[in-house]
Assembly symmetry: C2
Homo-oligomer: 462 residues x 2
């Protein structure tokens, strides 16, 4: 490893090679503190050619490389392993916005650009980049691409994959692929960028991207809707005008309870306690669109218990407060799943029943992007149970959740990715042919297994 460090220092400049343990620390643990690793160094290239030089040097020396953006991932995908021999490649110096094309509605940005900065640049041009995440002040476009980030606007605008027109990638052997095309249609062969989106840095390092922009919404209305059950939510979803609907979020009563308990100033928008709540948002390109009237008409025909319509984003605080409120309540077991939208009620009913039987008093904090069939199905321990006693059941309870997801043709990682946290469990639910193809592609691009070692791809016989 010593030899390669000198090469890395030459590639990026000594100031951008970090080996001091104190300075490295922040790169070696994820923001939740759930994954901790070690590394020989953190290297901070300033551009695409420097990334290529880093990968060439590491490949020649047989050293693993862990690409890292804002380090806000939830599955440990950006944290090095414990062996201490890997190098973390931080993209955060590569944060230029290279170009914004108003007529083409595209923005070309480097991988280390922070999501909020990209959203601001789009806004300054009167346009909008629709990806929005709780971590947007620190997560980077490279990480958003590597994990195919989603969020609340997917039902209208798609995931990061659909928002991406072109990529620049450094392959594991140091070759640079310049695929920064800003085209809506391009059928000239295999669509290679699709391989790198969602690959979590296991096939190469994304260094820049061309992203789609959209006109900013000029009218917006939200509604807080109390519902008797998830079936009512699915019915309401089907009645809303798809060309105005920008978000459809669902929250269990227990999710709202935690927000009301822990978020200062939080008040329920509707009187009484209801089993479920939806947060619905409509937007429109026209400034004076009668969205409140459209929403009111739909709500009159829907099986809703109660509803409040409000302009702007005032109601969002309740939805956005769930994660923090649940943290304040203590440790939780998190599951990020999708099922086909019509199966949400069956999923909730079967899983709630199974878990309440297994753990009397368990608090089921399920909420999320039901417009995409996506629920964050999180569990908080019963009052009075010790943390470690609850944590010890994590794997068994996850199996309950995931087996039902699988029976309903769902996914056990909707938007958080695989990383190390879900690598082995994902392998248990995927067809053998699909696992084999993943391994074959990994071996093709990275025969030495040096790109983000141990992440995403379950080894053969592993």
């Amino acid at each position: 490893v010593t030899g390669v460090l000198a090469e890395l220092a030459a590639a990026v400049g000594p100031a951008n090679l970090v080996t001091d343990p104190d300075l490295m620390r922040g790169y070696l643990v994820d923001w939740r503190g759930a994954h901790v690793g070690r590394a020989a160094a953190v290297v901070r290239p300033g551009g695409t050619e420097e990334v290529a030089a880093v990968l060439r040097a590491c490949r020649a020396a047989g050293v693993g490389v862990v690409p890292q953006g804002g380090n806000t991932g939830l599955c440990g995908g950006a944290v090095p392993s414990a062996d201490g021999g890997e190098v973390v490649l931080s993209t955060t110096r590569m944060r230029r916005i290279r170009e914004l094309d108003r007529e083409n509605r595209t923005i070309t940005v480097e991988a280390g650009a922070v999501l909020a900065a990209v959203r601001e640049a789009a806004g300054a041009a009167g346009l909008m980049f629709p990806l929005s995440l709780g971590s947007e002040g620190s997560c980077t476009i490279g990480g958003n691409l590597a994990t195919n980030a989603g969020g609340a606007a997917v039902l209208r605008y798609g995931t990061m994959r659909e928002l991406t027109l072109g990529l620049e990638v450094v392959l594991p052997d140091g070759r640079v692929w310049s695929g920064l095309r800003g085209l809506r249609k391009d059928n000239t062969g295999y669509d290679l960028k699709q391989l790198f989106v969602g690959a979590e840095g296991t096939l190469g390092v994304i260094t820049a991207a061309v992203l789609r922009l959209f006109p900013a919404a000029r009218s917006r209305v939200t509604a807080w809707v109390a519902l008797p059950d998830p079936a009512a939510a699915v019915e309401l979803l089907g009645l809303l005008p798809e060309d105005r609907l920008s978000c459809f979020e669902l929250m269990s009563a227990e999710s709202l309870d935690l927000v009301l308990a822990h978020v200062p100033g939080a008040r329920s928008p509707v009187p009484g306690r209801w089993p479920w709540h939806a947060l619905v948002e409509l937007t429109d390109s026209r400034p004076e669109a009668a969205l409140a009237e459209v929403l009111a008409t739909v709500l009159e025909r829907s099986p809703v218990a109660d509803a409040v319509v409000a302009p702007g984003r005032v109601l969002w605080a309740l939805r956005e407060g769930v994660a923090e409120a649940q943290n304040k309540e203590g440790p939780s077991l998190k599951h990020d799943v999708t099922v086909p939208i019509g199966r949400i009620p069956e999923f909730v009913s079967r899983t709630d029943t199974a878990l309440r039987a297994a753990v009397p008093g368990i608090r089921i904090v399920s909420y999320g992007h039901v417009g995409d069939g996506n629920l964050h199905y999180n569990l908080t321990k019963p009052r009075g149970t010790a943390d470690d006693e609850f944590a010890a059941r994590a794997e068994a309870l996850a199996t309950v959740v995931y087996d039902i997801v699988a029976a309903l043709d769902g996914s056990i990682s909707a938007e958080h990715g695989v990383g190390v946290a879900k690598r082995d469990v994902v392998a248990g639910y995927k067809p053998a042919v699909e696992l084999a193809m993943m391994r074959e592609i990994k071996a093709l691009f990275d025969p030495g297994g040096l790109m983000n070692p141990g992440k995403v791809v379950f080894p053969a016989g592993g």
Copy 2:
């Protein structure tokens, strides 16, 4: 080859193995008559397992397989080569609609299902499958997937790639991958379906797909807009409400001239002759949406020369008549290109100028989906020039067009794919790293080179 024919007959039943030259003829030539091949047989499997048996038998015997759907492609991708040793695998018996899920807004169909039948099934459920092509009465979903089909609604709904949630694929070695998930979010590893969409059958045979459906539009208005130049079209496009705009098509004066000359009953919607025309369509999910008023407001602020607004689809006949009208005028040289939308004016101006200098009197029939930056830039010979004299210049004139496309960061095959017709010319415009990755992936999935031999992928040193 004789040995494998017996195996194929056993796999699909003797009635579904065609070797009679008269019965094979329709499978060996594309619908335009531009590509003619030969084959040892046409095999017509009735299901996924039969496709797998066919691929296993052909692989064992070293026989090439050419997947074919409705045989409506424009680049010869579904026609066998001239060597006569390949087998055509026709998917047309596999045409079941397996499932329609109203709440999930998805339809699961087999590869041989005809596009129009899928659109009808969606419509019968009060939903809509947005892909619509001139060939929809005979093209199949498998072909649409293999070529990542586009058309006029891409600016609102995306290409076939964005419309696809899951695939079932038989790999070249006969393994079946069941990836028929109907999920909007699924981040559990490499998104393998993306490799098969747009691969034109060179990596395996798509046998079924889960496709997205949308609510049917309940209001629709179209406008015919006369424009002074393409820059005015780009400006108008930018002013239209993106959440209502469903199509934006552009036509040169010479395109409309041919329609008026050859399509019975065709009349220009606006008086006088204008250099350019746009066909704009807005749709809305609400039945009484004031789309005509929205459109009128935009047109008042736009640099348009004249405009006519009409309900429904009456104006579409003029746009849809271009291809047939140009055929009636005689042979033409066709180019299907995209550039970033803002560069459409520069592309048209530079290419028109270069071609009119090279071929005085040439008629430039450019039209297409400018909302996606996509132009069908077609050329009709000058009056009085002999067909073969014009045809002899095809390659030189294509080079003029493609060099300008490349200089403007565009694509030389926007939606028609590669097949054999564009394989070598595409290779001339792609980065070497991208060509190398395509070859490596092809070799990984199909080491014997037996899946649609000679298509899409330019061989190393070829």
